[in-house]
Amino acid sequence: MKCLILLSLFFLVSCAQATEKVPADVADFLVNADDCQHLSGEWDSSLPETQKRNIENQVDNVCSKAKAEQKKLKVRYRNDKETLKIINEYDF
């Protein structure tokens, strides 16, 4: 039982450290990437026109940034497998 608790604690601490380890430029990318992913799940033809246009504008702004950042970061972190894996999790 104690082992299980210790293992769980170790896992939680490792996860927290992994999140903290992300470089600042990757953290910035993740904000835009998550927003882009969210917006891509929002658009639907059944929405009112104003809402559709708003999502399209936000997509153009946020997703363009995320795509451009992803391209640069893939090159910058090409030798850092862990970071590259995080960057490559997004397919816009």
Binding site: C36, S40, G41, E42, S45, S46, L47
Partner: protein
């Protein structure tokens, strides 16, 4: 029996804007929150609740195929959607142009020509865990939270972006989207 891709698929799985289509747990929370909003005199327009995953699948892959980002033969099948993305010539050979044009027709019929990102396959809407609604009121708002306590909202804006209203929503476990003004009407189980 599979049916070829094309415009006819667009009307088969329709997005909903009623609370009945939501995931039962979230539905209960949303309906309580909506009642509180109505009792307080808030004007409510619901624009979207549940999006069938089948619709998201058709939107996603037609968008990708129309832009040449995937081959029709590589599109994974989805249970409950007997669509054939692969159009063939009379001799049975794959006809890429016909396949792509059929996808373009679908994109046009979905109205996605100005959307510059592939629609997501999964979202809080496909899970039935999100609602898009436009809210507004005049003057000060007195509204009850889930504990039955009256909350007076005097600050601006008088719409769904009001931070005090977000706290009221939270008491019902209906969370405002954490990305701020990027998606004003969106509320969900976890703010995503």
């Amino acid at each position: 029996m599979k049916q070829l891709s094309g415009e006819g698929w667009v009307a088969r799985f329709i997005g909903r804007n009623d609370t009945q289509s939501l995931n039962p747990m979230f539905r209960g929370s949303v309906e309580k929150f909506l009642k509180s909003l109505k009792d307080a005199g808030v004007r409510i327009t619901i624009s979207a609740t549940f999006r069938p995953p089948e619709r998201a699948y058709l939107m996603h892959w037609s968008w990708k195929l129309s832009r040449g980002l995937v081959k029709p033969t590589d599109i994974p099948a989805k249970s409950g959607v007997d669509i054939d993305w692969v159009h063939r010539a009379a001799d049975g050979k794959l006809n890429n142009i016909k396949s792509t044009n059929a996808a373009k027709d679908m994109v046009r019929a979905f109205g996605m020509t100005n959307l510059h990102v592939a629609p997501a396959l999964n979202s809080r809407h496909t899970q039935g865990n999100a609602i898009d609604m436009t809210l507004s009121w005049s003057g000060n708002l007195t509204i009850k939270n889930n504990n039955g306590e009256s909350v007076v909202i005097e600050n601006l804006p008088r719409d769904g972006m009001n931070n005090k209203l977000h706290e009221v929503g939270k008491s019902f476990r209906v969370m405002k989207y954490h990305g701020g003004a990027k998606d004003k009407p969106h509320w969900s189980t976890d703010g995503q």
